[in-house]
Symmetry: C2
Subunit: 254 residues, 2 copies
């Protein structure tokens, strides 16, 4: 089994930030600076073209760490952040740019590219979770949640379907095509957010993905607005969702 | 203009409860027992067959009064609670029971009955709001919200369409048939909750009603489960919605 290799360690505003690698994959672990007792862990998968410390990740982590006292870990997805792009990555990104420039649907490119990234990323996440649970402040039997944004949903649906240690998940919408079958295997509580006027992912496709989850407790949050206009209060809602399902003393987020 | 006529006044657990009538319509006003400064007002419309102090109303009021320091007012709908049933009420209720006993769709009866109740209730609510705003602890220019449950939505959609003093509204799902046109006139922020597996109101009908609101800010909350299984955290979500839109120092609800 591969261990975490810490490469940087700093604290500010009550949050300890540790960079690490595990099996060569770079990640970040955010924790309460107070060095609290054992606490739940939330894994977060960043969006396409983003990276482990993108503000959307750092902002959500800040809420989870200071609001709930949780640990939050993010990995760079394959070909993203500090990881090199393969020739395949470069070809797919070029195909995406070509489709976008021509005003053609980007879905077909994104779906097949994200599916390929997920094949690599799911075992990476499982190895990272093994290593994170070796840390005494996380532990092998503590609650684990998952947050996925876009690409992080394309990775996170097969991950949660395969990984019984993850007991609650928050997703934002992505193309459902290859995910429906995996979503049908998921039974843990789900909070799923989509944009009602999404100009990229068709509304019916998002509703179909939500419908596919087999979870007895699942909640859809649909907000008026386009793909990138998700309101910030959805990040606060995710904090309350994890406070309910992973335990921990939730503080009202600022 | 008709004034409020208070008929009972008591306090417990930090909440002052005053029964009143206005133009012969019975209502209840819940307020902070501390007798605070001027505070926002939330009007609530109860569900069909329920009444102004049904636990669904009292529970939501408790959260809004103790969590936000707001005032909350509920009126008995026509033919409900302490109000007499007309011959028309009796006929429609008998028709509903007959449809239910025969396993026939109840929608056609409920839609026409609720529409008739709304015609009476909307001007009653407007007169009650006039009178409530005469109270110094509410005032004529303070923020006003509306919560509707079932029948309370059938009354509340035409009410909010007609009443510019109401600047934010929370609805639960009901049959949209006669409400679509009024919903298209509503532009204030909306939170709209439906049950994904509702056995009474078809899913597509609920989504169509949400779609009809012209509001720039609107959020759909769809939860797994049947008509009567809406999770309690939706009541907490409504409190946060009003804290955002009506101002006031929101406290994390218990």
């Amino acid at each position: 089994m591969r261990s975490l290799h810490f490469t940087a360690d700093s604290s500010s505003n009550g949050i300890r930030e540790r960079d690490f690698t595990v099996g060569g994959v770079p990640g970040v672990l955010w924790s309460p600076a107070s060095g609290a007792d054992r606490a739940p862990l939330v894994l977060m998968g960043h969006g396409g073209g983003h990276h482990k410390k993108h503000p959307a990740m750092a902002g959500r982590a800040q809420r989870l760490v200071t609001g709930c006292g949780f640990h939050v870990a993010v990995l760079d997805a394959p070909g993203h952040g500090d990881r090199p792009r393969s020739a395949h990555d470069e070809r797919e990104i070029a195909a995406l740019r070509t489709a976008q420039a021509a005003g053609e649907p980007e879905g077909p490119v994104v779906v097949r590219y994200n599916a390929r990234l997920a094949e690599t990323a799911v075992p990476e996440w499982q190895a990272a979770l093994d290593a994170l649970q070796e840390l005494p402040e996380i532990g092998a039997d503590g609650p684990v949640g998952y947050v996925g944004i876009g690409l992080g949903t394309a990775i996170g649906v097969p991950l949660v379907a395969a990984e019984p240690r993850i007991t609650a998940a928050v997703y934002t919408c992505t193309w459902p095509d290859v995910l429906i079958e995996k979503a049908q295997q998921i039974t843990v509580p789900i909070e799923f957010a989509l944009q009602w006027d999404d100009e990229r992912v068709p509304r019916e496709a998002g509703l179909a993905l939500f419908d596919a989850f087999a979870s007895q407790e699942k909640t859809l949050h649909a907000n008026a607005g386009k793909h990138l206009e998700m309101p910030r209060f959805e990040a606060d809602s995710a904090v309350r969702f994890f406070a309910r399902h992973l335990g921990g003393a939730a503080v009202s987020p600022a």
